[in-house]
Amino acid sequence: MNTPIKTIQLLLLCVLWIFPTSPAIAQQQVPSRVDIAFNRYYDYDEITDLLHQLVEAYPELLSLQSLGKSEQGREMWMVTLNNPETGDDSEKPAMWIDGNVHGNEVQAAETVLYTIWYLAKSYGEVEPLTKLMDRCAFYLLPMQNPDGRDYWFDEPNTPSSSRSGQRPTDNDYDGQLDEDGPEDLDGDGHIGRMWRFDPNGMFRRNAKDPRIIERVGDGEKGELSRAGSEGIDNDGDGRINEDGPGGYDMNRNWPTDWQPNYIQFGAGDYPFDRPETKAIGQFILAHPNIAAGQSYHNSGGMILRGPGASYAKDTYPRSDLRMYDKLGEAGEEMLPFYRYMVLYVDLYTVHGGFVNWLAEGLGIASFTNELWSSAKILQSKEARLDSEGRMRWQDRVLFGQTFTDFTEYDHPTLGRVLIGGGTKYSSRNTPPFMLEEGCHRNFAFTMFHAGHMPQISFDWVEVKSLGDDLWQITLEIGNEKIIPSRTGIAAANKIGQPDRLTLSGDGVQVVVSGRLNDRFDTTINTVKDRKHIIRHESGIPGEGRSTFRYLVTGPTGASVTLRYEAEKTMNIETTFTLNEENTDD
């Protein structure tokens, strides 16, 4: 039943290779078998449906699995993108791409969805992406936190609420779980701010635009005082909204530098104590072929790498810093108004973060992109956006849809209050009309990142006769990509298996073997035992090569096979015979 599609696919492939590659200004329009609009958001059910449609439409490339169930029992849908014609996904370098671990950071899921959609439709149509998909596999999880996503869409929220998962949690230490969350008192579908009338207040409404509430100057008299976010004191403890739904942070629940709640808010009782993180963790641990990682968040326009804490600053060896810089700086160019940053230096300290586990715990070259930057509003790095400017943007460009005017409300314990302000769509999420661009640029950067997963080849093999059936084989294995076959962190901390070069051949005996500094090096760093295997802890460097030498005995014409195995790149093999003319450049 698969055959017709495969045939078409092969035909497409053939067509592609003879396609004239003339430079074009506009991107070629590539049709998709599933139409998806990327100027809008989708809730959990809609994304679930779209993933099923995509997988049904592209069965030759995509497969769908649930990694497990969320706290509230939602399936955690993950798409594997792999071309089985070029090998099993586990044999290829793979990139992990996810989003939306924070339930409110919704456009992260659309960005992953876009990635699946764009890649699938591009196979056989867009040459660089086709090549990438033939060489690499992708594990794509649009919604790390399906409960938080659903809650954010379905219930009144602020731009920042519903970050947590939905396991009921006692945040105020009163023995009750989630008993005092916010309420949408003004009925606008959002959680706004409340202000009390106070003749001694430190705030007042702006004279020109009363929707803006501003701090009064020194010595001036205000009219309003802060009264927190919209809601009532449900549990009668005198505090409002102090224990809402959930109340933890699944991006602090990963093993690397995990710290308890009193040091790292939201960490949970132990790493992987949430079903969502546990399911993802088990999958990733079972896939050592994952060589690159991207975890989308919002907001602020950042391309973030670890470490998350100052004391881990020496974890990253110089070779890894160069790798990250090359990738991150390319990202800054591809993503206007995004900055390449280091978590603990430029953002804040994070213990037990996902990107830290990937990079520092597992040796995977990983970034976290913070999607959407308010610099995109004025499309300028220099121009300052003040409250008035922000109001003009929301009035003139968004037609007032992201603001609820302040109205008076008779609050049960606070008396007369003003309620209103920005809606949940007002700050962190990309305005829908700009969503597609954000998806595409981040997708493009992530494909650049994926494209630089290690790709190794036998660049040079030299066979020299030393007489009396003794041969010297010298070879270079090169990696044209930025990411090494083993990151510096992996090598330094002995994460996973070291790479291995194995020589085999009937009647061929390895006498001496080892690594050279380069092809001119005359001294071998010898292997003592099991000489046919050279273990290579540091791997093949990014945009570099490693040089090896074997001295073997064997008859002229004997066949020799060299095989290089590495967890994070395709294994390679070459076979030649013991003859001097078999030197290859």
Partner: protein, 678 residues
Amino acid sequence: MHTRFTTLLGSLTGALVVTTIATTLPAQDYRNHDGLSKAVNDLAQMHEACSLDVIGSSRKGRGLYLLTLTGDPETSAKRPALLITAGLDGRHLVGTETALRVASNLLENHLDLLDEMTVYIIPRLNPDGTELNLGDLNAGHIGTVTGIDADRDGTMNEDGPNDLNGDGLITMMRRLNPSLDEPATHLADPVEPRLHKTPDWTKEQRATYTLHVEGVDEDEDGLIAEDGPGSVDLDKNFMHGWDEYALESGAYPLSEPESHALATFVLTHTNIVSAITYGRHDTLVNPPDGKGKDITGRAPKNIDAGDVKLYKEISKLYKEITDQSNAPKGNSSGSFHAWLYAQRGIPSFATVVWGRPGDAKEKDTDDGEKAAASGDATAEGSWTGVIEIPDMGVLDFTIAVEGGNGPVTADFSTPMFSIAMEGTFDESSGSLSLKGDAGPEQSVLISGTIEGNSLSGSATGPDGDSVDITATREGAEESEPSEDEAEKADKDKKDDKPSDAEAAAWLKYSDEHRDGAGFVEWKSFDHPTLGAIEIGGFVPGFRMNPPADELDDLAGKQTEFAVALMGKRPKLNLEGPDVTKLASGLYEIHFAIVNDGFLPTRTTMARTARSFLPTIVTLSVPVESIVTGDRINRSWGITGSGGRQSLHWILRVEDGSDVSIDITNPQLGQRTVTFEAK
């Protein structure tokens, strides 16, 4: 009798007997899993106050037994509880035997106590690993049987140790004058030639031996017995100080079904108020100190300075009861007992149960008592030392402290900077803590303990990096001129001492009291690849497990300690309310929760970690009627011996109306006190 266990019992086939296997075991009558199953089942059958359950299963499907000892099964989960855990380390057989005997002793002689407190006993957390040591071969297996690729060659467990001499034990191999490609690393210790040491060139010592674990190089990688069965060490698989990059620590904390089950049990039993762990760690003979912070600068390296007294008092109690004077000082990073304390805040005590017999270290205890007895510790003076600051290098520093017991001020100065600091000094514990600012939001912390004229502790910089510091009080050297000489004499004497004094002492004990049963004498052996070698060394587990005839006595002492510890538990009582009418409809209320027990309701660590619900005191009146005070009050901890949490309210309520105070505490359960406003 509780019958929850009958189905589990049904799955066990054949006779459940105590196995008495190879004479090579450190002692007979240590139970394997079948023996343990029978023992726990017998206890549950024989005693009304004992029920048997499992907290989970090992990777091989063996039950992780839990004995619950209580006077009332209905309410056992709501009473304060003591948790006794044993058998995390596959070699530590004595722990399991002790736990079983303690259970039996408590059930037979201390039933009254079980009406007050629940006792949870988990006698063996690592049945799979233990079983490996109780079969035909005792290899001294420590961890679980989770495969790990110890030599990272893509194959698991392909090169374990081999019992070459067929004595049922895995010991060591030594090779005299090895070949040139494998240079010697050790020499026979001149004082005790059965043991080995690395050479000291100043004494013209030369290495003559290489040492290996007994085995062959099965996978021909040049390494002998480097990738044996298992194992993840359960006592390194917990969160506090977990070593991420060590294979035996597990792929992630609680990666093992056994450790996960135990942690889950602890997290779901918030009534646990103290814990004793029988295993390879000790906090009772040598109580941990309150010095230093971990890498985050937030968590204590060992224990919080505020809990030092608690650990010292309980240690004193333990030593009085058990007379145990020797215990190993090991690294407890990632251990169960360290997690219980550092992240859950539970007073958590660890003991090896059986310390090396003989030569009690009188000196140590003397010193401790002298320091405590003097009682005139002061922080005042000028303390000097050197400190290594990243990016600045090694600097001389001075801390000039002013003030007595209580608040102190200090100047912390180095050639590079000077910081004014404030803090406190606690005379009785000798603990000093100082805080100052190196710049805006750039705080520097110094904490340490003063004993006599020496200060040791740590300094934490603005970026959270923490370094150990030691300092001496200026003018102190003159007062004790003899110290250098004494030290020198001591050093000279040490030359006659074996390099590993502890191992030599064990060997002496084995020779003199156990007919040499603890050590396999070195004997020649023809090794397939190494040639002429000798095989010998300590019997695995010998230094942990006593002769079986000492088990009852040891368990008796441990029972006595457990009973004494339970006697020290916090006991909460309520005082009041006292109601005073201030005016019509206006009442003042005084109320207190008092801890009449000895131990605090919560350790300082628990209060910092907020790992438990506080005691919650709730008034029935609405917030609007409260003139002074809160409707919901949280008490994070109350010290023992009459420590109290006082509560004070002024209420506007109708005359004659009823007001109630709800008190909820995981240890107390729920209580309600009602009074009339009049």
